[in-house]
Symmetry: C2
Subunit: 199 residues, 2 copies
């Protein structure tokens, strides 16, 4: 009914997180109707990001620069490192504005069920960053899920070996059980950071 | 925090219908993380639609062909014309599969408040299509809103002048199929009662 070009666009839009067939259709029609004001600028912005944004080689954040703006910022504290599951969580921490150190994106959490081991995540790179001696505190900002907490314990154990003097804490009070960081309000994230406790 | 390229992308995504800042962020991250599997195909599909899809010169539907697939289909009935507000409504009619004639997209409804008059819509073009004599029935598939019903009456009056023998009808109002009475507004219940029919 709509032709293969529009069908294909609606299919791809419908695969985006939070969009179903109905919202994909609405978005596709909106873009076709506002070709110059919405579709062409969106294509330009997507192409720009696709061409220029890459994971930071130091922390895993997404940026056009490598090292990223957070890693390159001389005002941030080199002695504190916040470990997050993914970039969404890094951004959530930054929005909360409660942490002024550096980050380390794991790229996931350990999962026996899905066969995700330490070497599948950026855990060896985290050990290397901490072994140098400049990092004095690691905050494990992982979700309050079973896998998130398992990951926190495994990381704490491994860091205790490579960097014995290191303080390792995890986000405390405020993170709802089963809650994902990305869906928390900024105040809750700030409170959880202030209430962090040793693992 | 995220750099101007990603910020711009999130801003544009957040302006799409049904997406807010949070869903725009999730979509942007999803696209960055699945660059090859999601972002590049989406850019290609958007570019394809932006380059090739245009409004049909006959009915106003969107297609790469002009006349569009519906207008060009020889199996459809030239004597029946369905008038819709926009292409979304044309697609909804086609999904219902209950109409086998041609379409005419108005591009909006009359609105005294927003200063939309008949010449701002495809009403003169509709008169021209009906004046030829090939069209024998016009179905006004407009929303059951004040502006939609005003538009239907104005169109019926104007078509009565240019094509006196034409049958002009509008969609029946009533209880949606599968609809619970308890969730309907009073106007719909009243309209359904007035449109009651023998069982
Ligand atoms: Zn970085
Ligand atoms: Zn057409």
């Amino acid at each position: 009914m709509t032709g293969p070009e529009i069908d294909r666009l609606m299919t791809l839009l419908g695969r985006l997180p939070g969009l179903g067939p109905r919202s994909a259709r609405r978005v596709a029609l909106h873009l076709i109707q506002k070709r110059d004001a919405a579709m062409l600028p969106l294509i330009a912005a997507l192409s720009d990001v696709a061409e220029r944004v890459r994971p930071c080689g130091v922390c895993g954040n997404f940026d056009t620069r490598d090292p990223c703006a957070v890693c390159a910022d001389p005002r941030r504290d080199d002695s504190a490192l916040c470990v997050v599951e993914d970039v969404a969580d890094l951004w959530a921490m930054e929005r909360a504005g409660a942490f002024s150190g550096r980050y380390h994106v794991l790229g996931g959490v350990l999962s026996a069920l899905e066969g995700v081991g330490p070497e599948d995540l950026a855990i060896p790179a985290l050990e290397a960053r901490c072994a140098g001696g400049a990092v004095r505190e690691v905050v494990l900002a992982l979700g309050a899920t079973v896998d998130g907490q398992t990951t926190a314990h495994v990381i704490a154990d491994r860091l205790a070996e490579v960097a014995p003097g290191l303080t390792v804490s995890s986000l405390g009070q405020g993170v709802p059980v089963g809650g994902e960081l990305d869906f928390l309000d900024d105040g809750t994230i700030g409170a959880a950071l202030r209430a962090r406790r040793p693992v």
